[in-house]
Symmetry: C3
Subunit: 129 residues, 3 copies
């Protein structure tokens, strides 16, 4: 995977899935900005099982991206949780809290009118580098 | 309130409401990231009165978080305004503009399909430390 | 255009349209935060033609703001794409990818329940200064 560098930012292409119109993460200054992740597996298909399974897979995807670029779940600063249905907040949250230790990121969550690939949840992440 | 620190970030737990799955604010580098705030009072209930009252309470909550951590409304960089109904933009905005002096943050606003606790508005904030 | 400065942030008022309740961009640390842009022209009216035309105009507006403040499309770190209808993702994306060269920003996209002025798309941008 080749890194592409502008003056102050480092762009990391998506791993495994060529042609996606975004970097999986971009580093600048103190921060690492991740693209929104959904609960897709290595073949770019959503896992089955609905909001709980998708939340687990989404967080696993985020963890993998963070660790590829020298960060970790423990260093996440801010999460944005986009839900297909705000009524699924509690189930999402029950999975969400399992992956964090001492450091809970700042977070916002809201219901959307639709997500890519018909996902039930998409999560965006900003971490300390 | 104990602070929890990762390598470069400082995590501030919510004040008054134990068990919430996010920090009220996280500091990293030049920035202070706040969790999305809604118009809830000290007992964690939404104020009554709809969008105008909730916007005032939300901004009061944001002000309190900023001031607890050495920042202020005057140092907000970016706001994200999430509305239950984009048709309430004008009423939200009329309250919003009252709290700012010389420095207007960058801002985005959009309608959602639902917010936590049935709130009419949630506002997310990034400020200079 | 007068700049307004707080301790560490620089606030850039909107150009051309007085009275808008946000800065068009705010600089802090390594980053330039832009307000969400829609596909409005110099008279503050949405261009006609739907999602494709609005995406082109939105990106042109973002480019202009970036270049007014010493950044460029090539230095965007993160984009947030808010759509009136997630079903228009593909048409938005076809226009989106045309403006980027080697550096693809991190990105999230979601469907909303409504945007300002009835826009089909609003795009928020964080760039390296």
């Amino acid at each position: 995977m080749s890194q592409k560098t502008s003056k102050d930012a480092i762009y990391h292409p998506f791993v495994g899935i060529p042609g996606l119109p975004f970097s999986e993460a971009v580093e600048v200054g103190d921060l690492l900005f991740l693209s929104g992740q959904i609960g897709s597996d290595a073949s770019d298909r959503l896992v089955s099982g609905g909001i709980a399974a998708e939340t687990r897979q989404t967080l696993a995807n985020i963890r993998a991206v963070l660790e590829r670029h020298g960060s970790s779940l423990d260093r996440i600063v801010k999460m944005t949780v986009m839900l297909a249905d705000i009524g699924e907040w509690a189930v999402m949250n029950a999975e969400y809290v399992k992956v964090f230790g001492r450091h809970l990121p700042a977070r916002s969550a809201f219901g959307t009118s639709g997500l890519a690939l018909g996902a039930r949840v998409e999560i965006e992440c900003i971490a300390a580098r």
